[in-house]
Amino acid sequence: MSGRGIDLLVVGYGNTLRRDDGVGPHIADTVASWNIPGLEALAMHQLTPELAPRFAAVARVIFVDAALHTPQVELRPVSPGPATQALGHACSPSWLLGLTQALYGSCPEAWLLTVPVVDLGFGEELSLPARDAMQSALACLRDFVEDGGG
């Protein structure tokens, strides 16, 4: 359960009962199976404030989330958000980074990997476009890790 020795944390989040919304957790589970030293992957239903202590212990974080109306897999940097917002039903990556910054005085370098999806209906299977996009996302992550990331 500790973050010791972890340099890169991949956090895939989404609802696995809402079809393509589960692509984030599916990607995280696949990344976890790579068993790469220094790399940890978490599959989560949603982002929560309790991730802040984990973030404080790592150098880099990649959030992985499904996105509608996006043409392709995209990896872009995320900055900590302003330290003024109340806790809502769910945390955004920038809010969580801002919380980490406020609590610990620093936060990891972070990116958001958005995966294009089409179907958020009820069910556990990914659509064909989401499965294809998942493979592209995994290739992107693999390149990131092999290139040293950042």
Binding site: S2, L17, H45, T48, P49, G88, H89
Partner: protein, 474 residues
């Protein structure tokens, strides 16, 4: 001409609600209502499903307290199978339920109500949030987050994930606790206990400055209900139901879960999707009762562990032998966290944690069963009726927050009558009304078994529809 103030949505609670405050011609508060604006229909769409799916289905009522539904549902399933689950399975379920109590209470105290309690009711709204709390006291904020993390990690260690773990099943549980996780939790327990004790220390210091709030934040006589152990001690997972009145007298005791409907009726209100349970012998609405941490401490002779019992003694010294102020739900919550850490220590040292015998196997042997356990917010009932194939024919979910509905109404009215004067509604006064609701830590997704969000505003509206004042939250 009568007017009304509407707070919509209520902030820093789980789920969505609005509060309507009615003013008379002299701008005095005449009444207040707490409405829940979510609708779900859980009890309808589960009909036809196999009963063994119910733990997983009902856990998805809510992301804050799925474990509570897992427990009550699994226990209802145990009843349908007519089995007594293995001792190790019960202890593991208890461990997860204690983790749930810790994480939920920590969220309520440190995240949701903490900004009011530690920054002050009248602090600027833009600072009255978790970031304001961090700026004011970073070590406390960190400790609160780590405490919740500890509770969540207990759940994940057993169920594989923190939210919606599909782990408790009719007949027992799916998996045990690994030696590695057991050691990790044991190593982290002292910090969790220290945070609970620090929270209690801070709250007691704060309480000394809040005598006014204690008097008017839902301070009224009511019944209190919950589960107790066979010898009348604090219970969170099993036991028998007990009702106690505001004088501390037991009015109904040793009630098995199966007989709950003999004592609890449910009324439907026209302006809320939240049903209003009441104590049947006294009728509606006289039979108002409260559940949750305050109720559990009021009905119990003891917590059952030394540190928590010491705090219980001081709790009663400060608040009375039967504590009637809803403001002290916060205090009770912290004592329960402390008790949970003590019980967890015992469970982690129990040799049954190594047992592999975790499930009792059987077929459907009964067609009706009631599973009851204590959710962080109060007593939770899952009442199932199945056919001979185990398919759900009917279910009734009696949720903790719903059982506090009448009390929340009364609390809102009392606070509004005390703090709101005149046509100008200052924001700190509105926050006190909301804070009264937050003291109950309501889980509105559960209580209406609901989904969905509505974009909502705060409006002060004349009966003729003229908007006198408007505030936007969310």
């Amino acid at each position: 001409m009568p007017r009304k103030v509407i707070i919509d949505p209520v902030s820093r609670i789980e789920g969505h609600a609005k509060i309507t405050i009615f003013l008379d011609d002299a701008n005095q508060v005449t009444d207040a209502r707490f409405h829940v604006t979510e609708f779900r229909g859980f009890e309808a769409f589960c009909v036809g499903r196999p009963f063994y799916e119910m733990p997983g289905l009902s856990a998805r009522v809510c992301g804050i307290c799925p474990v509570s539904h897992l427990m009550a549902s699994a226990k209802a399933g145990d009843g349908l199978l007519a089995v007594k689950i293995p001792p190790a399975a019960e202890k593991l379920r208890r461990l997860m339920n204690l983790g749930q109590i810790i994480q939920s209470h920590a969220l309520s105290f440190f995240h949701l109500s903490g900004p009011d309690l530690f920054l002050g009711w009248d602090s600027p709204p833009e600072q009255r949030n978790v970031f304001g709390l961090i700026a004011a006291d970073q070590p406390l904020a960190r400790a609160g987050i780590r405490l919740r993390q500890f509770g969540q990690d207990i759940i994940a260690a057993l169920g594989g994930k923190k939210i919606h773990p599909a782990w408790a099943v009719p007949g027992g549980v799916r998996d045990g606790l690994s030696p590695e996780n057991r050691a990790d939790l044991r190593q982290r327990l002292p910090e969790a206990r220290a945070t609970a004790q620090e929270g209690i220390r801070r709250f007691k210091k704060f309480l000394d400055t809040q005598k006014g709030e204690v008097e008017v934040f839902g301070n009224f006589p009511s019944l209190f209900m919950g589960l107790v152990t066979p010898d009348g001690g604090w219970e969170h997972y099993d036991g028998l139901l007990r009702f106690v009145d505001a004088a501390g007298q037991t009015v109904a005791d040793r009630i098995p879960a199966d007989n709950y409907a003999d004592y609890i009726g449910e009324a439907v209100e026209h302006d809320s999707y939240l049903k209003s349970p009441y104590f049947k012998p006294l009728g509606y609405p006289q039979g108002v009762y409260r559940v949750g941490p305050l109720a559990r401490l009021n009905i119990s002779q003891r917590m059952g562990r030394p540190l928590a019992d010491s705090e219980l003694s001081e709790f009663r010294h400060r608040g009375g032998s039967t504590v009637t102020s809803s403001f002290l739900y916060h205090y009770a919550r912290l004592i329960e966290i402390l008790a949970a850490t003590e019980f967890i220590a015992d469970l982690l040292d129990d040799p049954d944690m190594e047992s592999k015998h975790l499930r009792a196997e059987a077929r459907v042997n009964r067609l009706e069963s009631v599973g009851v356990s204590e959710a962080p917010r109060g007593t939770l009932f899952h009442h199932y009726i199945v056919d001979e194939h185990g398919l759900m024919k009917k279910l009734n979910l009696l949720i903790a927050t719903g059982q506090n509905a009448l009390a929340m109404n009364r609390t809102v009215t009392q606070i509004a009558q005390h703090f709101i004067k005149g046509a100008q509604i200052p924001e700190p006064m509105l926050n006190r009304v909301e804070a009264g609701i937050r003291a109950f830590d309501p889980c509105l997704s559960c209580s209406t078994h609901a989904v969905g969000q509505m974009p909502l505003r705060i409006q002060l509206v004349r009966p003729d529809g003229t908007v006198l004042d408007e505030r936007t939250r969310n």
